[in-house]
């Protein structure tokens, strides 16, 4: 190091940083060579290892490698269906992978271990550096090195003295000029004059280290925000059929609800959402990509307790905000209204049932369960085709996602629905064990097939079933004959905004840390013969590709300033001259 004194205010770096001042990189330091290392000694040694640059680097690379398998093996968090599929197609391998937590990579013990170690290392790195940086911010620039010529970026020039000018005085004046140039350039300066020479020591770019610390601290901020904020976050899902209302309260209305650890499910704001209308556009028949859906929009009526109702719209990329929650559109589909009557003509079932879409043309599957009012319990497994066509094989299919030729087909099962024994059953699936198929398949009885408004007989003379036409009065076609439903996802995200703020802070810090040049400059003037020898030298702290240019620039500007000062002093002396004469 050229400037021993200067080291006192260097940014404190881990020992093995390029410009750190610690032991050699082979790393063992003095710890391992000393024969007896007490407990405290070992702890200290371990801590130093953990907070070294090499460890940070290795942990970063480990983190990158450890993240890879999660992109290859399906993850429970992102793709639960993929995981089930993986289990059924790889029955021997899957359990082994599961043991290794490969379906939950990002919450696995090994992945967590890596990032926790990394962050411990990070904090261990930040704290001493921050303390040190505060001291450095208040310190004066270091003493001018005795031999500037030893520095790589070094210039020298000779300036003639004005006749009769005192060399020491001139040196001091030249350095004054340099000092003011440097100060204008954003440097912090300190004069170090000694017998025989005058010099200024200047330093700039403290913001580089500040930026670096902001960056690393903000990373901790992101992690803390995600970790803590997750506890106050909840998400829930709900299907809403056109015309019906949802109340934001757990227990009654959510079909699924995932609260964070600190969420009190009883304290949700009980606002209501009603689906008035669902809009979607489809690329028309005959065009490329016919049937591609877009511009989804769920028009809702929202109401906060004690306030008047308002309307709002949920679109993809445009969630609806209400009471601190965000409401997202997850999916949509058709919900045929079905009425079942018994042999006496009494209504035993009447509901609008969401059918889940299976393909781009909205072929949909749904289930109707009639538990009471008939001689036995009936289950209906239905297919809904918004635009029904018959394939060559005789099977039905949907050719277009809009309602051009809506048809509902149903297969009927009789027996025990299994809903009375307290085991929760999905409303979208029918478990036919213990039931007898009454229509379709091998029964020889034709499946039920209905268009909106049609009614047909149930098998065994149980009664009738009607596919209601939900068109408004006076409708000319079937485009509104079947109601729509949407599935909404409701989020309360306490972590996001904080994490985002820290991320933005991190990038700002990064910009400073990477692009603010941190350097020291010295200008020294020494009387030499009839003139002054002026030296300029600079030293970069960290990456500084513009250092050389900066020295050249300073030397040029200073020369010019000296010239100007000299020129100014000529008339000055000329003015004085007569009086001396």
């Amino acid at each position: 190091m050229a400037d021993r004194d200067a080291e006192a205010v260097d940014p404190l770096r881990p020992a093995d940083a390029i410009d750190g001042k610690g032991e050699p990189a082979d790393g063992t330091g003095d710890g391992i060579t000393s024969p007896k290392l007490g407990f405290v000694g070992w702890m200290r040694w371990g801590w130093r290892q953990l907070t070294s640059m090499r460890t940070a680097l290795v942990l970063l690379l480990l983190l990158a490698i450890a993240a890879v398998p999660g992109s290859i093996v399906p993850q429970r968090s992102a793709d639960p269906n993929g995981v089930s599929q993986y289990f059924s197609s790889n029955p021997t391998l899957a359990p082994i992978l599961d043991k290794m937590q490969l379906f939950d990579v990002y919450s696995s013990a090994w992945f967590s271990a890596i990032y926790i170690l990394l962050f411990v290392s990070l904090i261990g790195c930040i704290i001493p550096r921050t303390k040190h940086h505060f001291t450095a911010l208040r310190a004066r620039p270091p003493r001018t090195p005795a031999r500037l010529a030893r520095l790589e970026d070094h210039r020298e020039s000779l300036v003639e003295l004005e006749p009769g000018e005192d060399a020491g005085h001139a040196a001091s004046r030249a350095v004054d000029l340099a000092a003011s140039l440097l100060r204008k350039g954003g440097y912090r300066i300190e004069r170090y004059d000694s017998r025989g020479s005058a010099s200024v020591s200047a330093e700039r770019g403290y913001l580089r280290e500040t930026g670096n610390l902001i960056f690393h601290t903000a990373l901790v901020g992101v992690l803390v925000a995600v970790g803590l904020g997750g506890g106050f976050t909840y998400t829930g899902q709900r299907v809403i059929v056109q015309g019906t209302t949802f109340v934001n309260s757990v227990g009654t209305d959510y079909s699924s609800f995932n609260p964070g650890r600190f969420v009190d499910p009883d304290s949700l704001t009980p606002y209501t959402l009603k689906l008035d209308k669902f809009d979607v556009t489809y690329v028309p028949f005959g065009q490329k990509d016919a049937g591609q859906a877009g511009d989804f929009a769920a028009h809702l009526t929202t109401q906060l307790p004690g306030q008047s109702a308002q309307t709002g719209t949920v679109r993809v990329n445009h969630p609806l905000q209400i009471a601190g929650d965000d409401v997202y559109l997850l999916g949509n589909g058709y919900a045929p209204t079905i009425t079942v009557r018994n042999a006496k003509g009494e209504v035993v079932f009447h509901d609008t049932v969401p059918f889940l879409p299976q393909d781009n043309n909205m072929t949909s599957i749904g289930v109707v369960k009639v538990a009471d009012g008939l001689p036995e319990q009936l289950g209906f497994v239905g297919f809904f085709y918004p635009t029904q066509v018959k394939l060559g094989s005789g099977a039905f299919s949907s050719a277009y996602p809009n309602l051009l030729n809506p048809v509902l087909t149903l297969n009927v099962y009789g027996g025990d629905l299994g809903i009375n024994n307290g085991i929760p059953r999905s409303v979208y699936a029918l478990d036919p064990t213990g039931m007898t198929q009454l229509t379709g398949g091998k029964t020889g009885v034709k499946s039920i097939e209905l268009s909106p408004g049609q009614t047909t007989q149930l098998p065994k003379g149980y009664g009738t079933i009607t596919f209601e036409n939900d068109s408004p009065a006076g409708a000319k076609d079937q485009s509104q004959a079947v109601k729509r439903f949407v599935s909404l996802s409701i989020h309360h995200d306490a972590a996001g905004p904080w994490a985002l703020a820290f991320a933005v802070l991190a990038i700002a810090g990064l910009l400073l840390a990477l692009f603010v040049p941190r350097r020291r400059m010295w200008v020294k003037a020494t009387p030499a013969g009839d003139g002054l020898r002026i030296e300029y030298a600079a030293l970069a702290r960290g990456e500084d590709p513009t250092l050389k240019a900066a020295v050249d620039d300073l030397a040029a500007k200073h020369a010019k300033a000296l010239d100007a000062a000299g020129a100014a002093s000529v008339p000055d002396q000329a003015a004085k001259a007569p009086s001396v004469d």
Binding site: I18, A56, A67, K288, D295, N317, L510
Partner: protein, 349 residues
């Protein structure tokens, strides 16, 4: 009459053809320049030495190596006006400009035909991404004489653009709903820009490793003495390149600019994900790879600041980083399952 969409395809193939010619010119330049650009004196000296060494190859002395590299360093930083004027490199650059203009026209016509930004399916990512690669290269020529990277950049672009045009071309189709967002404009564009900058950093790191090998061999050859069997110290064009150290710091500068843009991509992507999918971060495959790439480059930046890692090792990390970027664009887009199914190559089901 050609439709705009078809015109765009024609322009793309024209650009590819021109880049291919540029690639040939640049390669020719690399192959021949080493001999030509030696100035008279050095050439005479080299001839003399060759005579003396009786065919003993042309291992430069340490002094010569230094002089060579100082000259290369000055050439690297020379203002465009003061640069050497090797004919084939100039032809290469002129052709690259011509190809670039065609490609910009192709990109714009595609965008106009689609009525949106031209980066919404895999073919378009490649089209815009490679355009930015060339653009960043041409722009950097105003600051550094990087023409020695011309063959690498034009070669890479011919390969990427040619392969995607042949295999992944899709006709313009309307945007899927999640893509209808201003974030498409920002996030994807910045990601492509970062990729383009990483490409240059990658090229420089490769050159750095080659140069480093040459430097080592020269030192070894000198230690061995002149009487030993002649050694080959590496490709001739390397003698016109700056020192490995200089290449390394240049590579680093590109990489950190790329890293900033990539960080922005990461953050912008998670903001968009929150609007489109209702969460900032969900470890979707594409998110995972964006993260992996970010961490690798953070590792690279650390390696540059870690004793014992500067030089070869950090160069390899830079190379790994760019390989991950390319992997993300190709393999992950095509074969990995996830929410980012916007290659336009399969109809979503």
């Amino acid at each position: 009459m050609l439709s705009l969409e078809e015109l765009s395809v024609w322009l793309v193939w024209t650009a590819i053809a021109i880049y291919a010619l540029a690639f040939i010119a640049y390669t020719w330049d690399l192959a021949t320049r080493s001999a030509k650009s030696l100035d008279e004196k050095d050439a005479a000296k080299a001839r003399e030495r060759e005579l003396v060494a009786a065919g003993g190859g042309s291992v430069p002395s340490a002094d010569e190596l230094h002089r060579e590299q100082d000259r290369a360093e000055a050439a690297l930083r020379a203002a465009p006006r003061d640069r050497t004027r090797p004919v084939f490199a100039r032809i290469g650059t002129a052709l690259t400009w011509l190809g670039f203009l065609c490609q910009v026209a192709a990109d714009i016509t595609r965008g106009v035909a689609a009525g949106r930004v031209p980066w919404a399916d895999m073919y378009e990512f490649a089209l815009t991404g490679t355009m930015l690669m060339i653009g960043v290269y041409l722009l950097s020529l105003f600051f550094y004489d990087l023409r020695f990277l011309g063959a690498f950049i034009t070669g890479l672009v011919v390969l990427l653009l040619g392969l995607t045009s042949m295999n992944f071309y899709v006709a313009i189709s309307p945007l899927m709903d999640p893509l209808k967002s201003p974030w498409l404009v920002i996030h994807v564009f910045v990601a492509s820009l970062a990729t383009a900058i990483f490409a240059l950093a990658f090229g420089l790191s490769v050159m750095q490793l080659m140069q480093q090998r040459r430097e080592h061999k020269i030192v070894a050859a000198q230690l061995a003495g002149p009487d030993d069997a002649p050694v080959k110290v590496g490709w001739g064009f390397l003698r016109n390149l700056p020192s490995s150290e200089s290449l390394e710091s240049l590579s680093y500068r590109f990489a950190i600019i790329g890293f900033i843009f990539w960080s922005f991509t990461l953050v912008a992507g998670s903001i968009w994900a929150n609007y489109a999918w209702g969460r900032f971060w969900g470890f979707d495959t594409k998110e995972v790879w964006t993260f992996i790439i970010w961490v690798v480059y953070a590792g690279y930046i650390h390696a540059r600041a870690t004793r014992g890692w500067r030089g070869t090792r950090s160069a390899w990390l830079n190379i790994i980083g760019f390989s991950a970027v390319m992997f993300n664009f190709t393999i992950v887009n095509l074969f990995f399952k996830g929410l980012h199914v916007y290659s336009g190559l399969t109809t979503a089901s």
